[in-house]
Amino acid sequence: MTTTTATHRGFWYRHPKLQLAGLLSAPMAWLVVVYLGSLLALFLTAFWQVNDFTSQVERTFTFRNFQEVFTNPAYYGTVFRTVSIALLTTLICIVIAVPLAFFMARVVRPRYQAVMIAMILTPLWASYLVKVYAWRAMLQPESGVIAWFLQPFGIGGPGYGFIGIVITLSYLWLPYMVLPIYTAFSRLPNSMLDASADLGARNGRTFRSVVFPIVFPSIVAGSIFTFSLSLGDYITAQIVGGKLLMLGNVVQQTYVTNLPFAAAVSMIPVVIVLAYLFAVRRSGALDNL
């Protein structure tokens, strides 16, 4: 009995690659078949079309869906708007997160650091819908908190629309930007700042030449989250966007009646995010995720 057990153990010990294969084959199969497979199906569907009379999907190859997206101003306008919203959201998140993360990592005493991280993280526990509806209430023209707050200054609130979407998305994705930057700031050794000052650099110079380059990859890492999450969002636009559409809304409106067209539209953010990842690949941000 003992001999067989020993032989059995020895087998796996002598074949570490087989052991690894045994561990990974199930999750790899899931990733390839379900995840990449569905992406491939989406890609193929984008080149099919719907018969105008029968409303049936015809499996013949065509560029018609993409032509429609890039020639119809309503659609390419939406592409432009969606990318603008995603970029602006990312920019706002960076502007808020960098000083906030710096404050959390290097100014606040360790005891309050934990409290601040908890404060950043707890909104992630609340339901997405609850948070967006909360913003709908706040953004409400005339009676919303923001409109009420701005009234004494003679300014109306942003109401529902472009600005409303950007504000809401910035709020939603801010933690994804703060956390990687916070980690980068707290990893930065004090001696690095001392060394820069020691070599004759004033604080501004130290920030430009030492702190920022070291923290930059984590800003890019955070921007991957904020940018791609914003690009794919459609519920926020539905709730606080007024009549404005984002790419996700177009997909949502068309996938029942014209599945190939919806597939073509949803390929756009995929391609944009892939291009973005390719562009930032060299910054080292992908090692920071």
Binding site: M192, D194, A195, D198, G200, R205, S209
Partner: protein, 347 residues
């Protein structure tokens, strides 16, 4: 004679309730290699950081070449530091790291490059310019840090336990190299370490720190041969103290006395000392073979212990090893005993 590179007067620094540095006065001469030696928490690093300007003193003044820099920020002081963790900038290449100080001071590009290359050459790292710090070994990083500081030609170079992270062989090699470099460039070095051997090998003078104060300052020989307090005797070299009672019995005088272990001879049985010698009886409790030498730990009949070190220069190592438990007489020249305090509780 030589002028004073750093003059420190009445330096004091507290962290909360802890007094890290208290009433420290030092004059560091031009071109001198001064070591601040002490256990961790003795304030030696804090003094170094105050000279660099990273910490502000609560009281006291620091002068560099006659100029009061106490209120000046680090970037305005003509000193450079080699950090314990090297603090190389990870996003820059070796040459960019070395050039950083010159670039900040707006030295023209051609001169900058030439000086940086020369600095790398002087630490024997020519050919490594394009590497990143992460691609270097610990010893190489240490040299880059040294080149990055030296390239600025500061009045004073501050070194904060720069060899602490290296293994023994490399550390001993770097000790010699550092000393050579210091002789070549003629810059004043202030070197912080907790390693007494390092301090004794490299320094022109040593300041021994204890609990935020300077316990003793002097040449390595003065510190080692004439320790001024039980603390210094114990921290530099082996603590070989004759207690008050033992001293009274052996020397006929009170106070705490110290004899360095290599100054003592071991003789079997009871031996009468020569007129210029002192002797004490004891029993060997432990014999430790350490390659180059053998260490005896001897329980004295008058109370206390003494350590004796004998070189294994002859073939007697095996014989020595068999001496455990034997009664012996320890003999030393009365020139080699030093009173380290007048009473046993004194410092």
């Amino acid at each position: 004679m030589t002028s004073v590179a750093i003059r420190i007067r009445g330096l004091r620094r507290t962290f909360g309730d802890v007094v890290a540095v208290d009433d420290v006065d030092i004059d560091v001469m031009d071109g001198e290699f001064l070591t601040l030696l002490g256990p961790s928490g003795s304030g030696k690093t804090t003094v170094l950081r105050m000279i660099a300007g990273f910490e502000r003193p609560d009281a006291g003044t620091i002068e560099l070449a006659g100029v009061d820099v106490t209120e000046m920020p680090p970037y305005a002081r003509d000193v450079n530091t080699v950090f314990q963790d090297y603090a190389l900038f990870p996003h820059m290449t070796v040459i960019q790291n070395v050039e950083y100080g010159l670039m900040v001071k707006k030295v023209p590009k051609a001169e900058r490059q030439q000086r940086a290359l020369a600095a790398l050459e002087s630490v024997r790292l020519a050919g490594y310019e394009r590497r990143r710090p992460s691609q270097l070994s610990g010893g190489q990083r240490q040299r880059v840090a040294l080149a990055r500081a030296l390239v600025n030609r500061p009045q004073v170079l501050l070194l904060d336990e720069p060899l602490g992270a290296l293994d023994l062989k490399l550390r001993e090699q770097m000790q010699v190299e550092l000393k050579e470099i210091q002789r070549e460039v003629g810059i004043t070095f202030v070197f912080v370490t907790h390693d007494q051997d390092e301090a004794l090998t490299m320094s022109d003078r040593i300041a021994v720190f204890n609990e935020g104060r300077i316990a003793q300052i002097g040449t390595p020989m003065e510190i080692y041969e004439h320790p001024g307090s039980p603390f210094v005797a114990g921290f530099v070299g082996t603590s070989n103290l004759l207690t008050e009672e033992a001293a009274r019995a052996v020397l006929g005088r009170g106070g705490v006395w110290s004899v360095r272990p290599e100054k003592i001879q071991v003789a079997r049985g009871t031996v009468e000392p020569a007129p210029h010698q002192h002797a004490v009886q004891g029993r060997i409790r432990e014999v430790v073979y350490v390659g180059m030498s053998t260490r005896f730990l001897v329980d004295l009949t008058v109370g206390g212990q003494l350590m004796v070190v004998e070189q294994n220069s002859d073939a007697g190592a095996t014989e020595r090893h068999a001496m455990r438990g034997q009664d012996v007489t320890l003999l030393w020249d009365s020139d080699h005993e030093y009173q380290v305090s007048s009473s046993s509780d004194g410092r």
